[in-house]
Symmetry: C2
Subunit: 194 residues, 2 copies
Amino acid sequence: MKILTSVKIVRTFYWLIGHIFVMNITEFVELSIGRWRSQRSGHHLAFAHFEEVLSEINIESLSTDDSKVLEICKSNDVNPSSITHPFRMTWEGESDWDEKTFSGSTVLVPVPDAENPQKGKLLREEGYAETIAAVGNYHLSEDGTFILQTEYDRAAAEERIWFANPNLRFRVATIKTSNGKGITTASFCSEIRS
Amino acid sequence: MKILTSVKIVRTFYWLIGHIFVMNITEFVELSIGRWRSQRSGHHLAFAHFEEVLSEINIESLSTDDSKVLEICKSNDVNPSSITHPFRMTWEGESDWDEKTFSGSTVLVPVPDAENPQKGKLLREEGYAETIAAVGNYHLSEDGTFILQTEYDRAAAEERIWFANPNLRFRVATIKTSNGKGITTASFCSEIRS
């Protein structure tokens, strides 16, 4: 039996807390920190078309007084004392659609609801569906799923993220157009800590 | 504006009930009844391998005194008066792995918990991970996700099913080996009512 490193003990602790009690944003972000090998399947619903994407994702903790974090607070008119656990996400990958590599990075800032720690806003430097800044609303369900809803100008995105164990994370994302045509794409990621 | 058929009104009603209040097995099964065009991605985690499957799924309601249903109750030692909304699932599809078509059929029998209608057992004529009869434990989360856990001899399966709208259903299934090696495969289905 291998001796667990202190990092592993801490991760297992956060995962257990999130499963025995209700997960909050602290446990969720702490579990997400690290490098992940991501396998993503995109479903283009109207054409039953599949897209396959492999990528490396790095999620790193930022300090609440990081200059980028303070800038995002300022542009969203959010008091920096009300934020918690900001982080940077960086990705690099390849899709079977165009065989070209892609990469990117964004900073995310959770702002928990003062009344209900299971809910809050997530400020984002740059959106997924459109390359503009975005503010999403999140909540953590009783079974530990992080559910994020973000409205854009011409679309709305929903993301559901949960941990099967401290080293395996699943994500389902859907994009809905705002012209009433409904959900156009859905994607599923399996992410293994590397 | 098209006039909704009574079937569509009923489905929308069940979906709304499931979203405004908490979904129970009645709403869940009623919403599932019908023909679905399914797009499935399998992720084989150790090798980052993708599998693509297209299939047609048909879910039809059975009566609680159907002979097959009564037989499943008997073999599980379950009183037929404690069951609700049994159904038959039939599928036919093709995977990009072997280009061969596959098909199958199974009967499922929900047995809601007398104390808590959000929980129960799901009796199954034949399992997914192993072709033997199986009994799973389900619960419906507050956000309307049906979560089914089934233990087999050498594996355990978890399935999460939710409705994005009355005509779009998502499923995430994971298979865990019982030798302690963890989750080996995960799959994601987008299912559109056809």
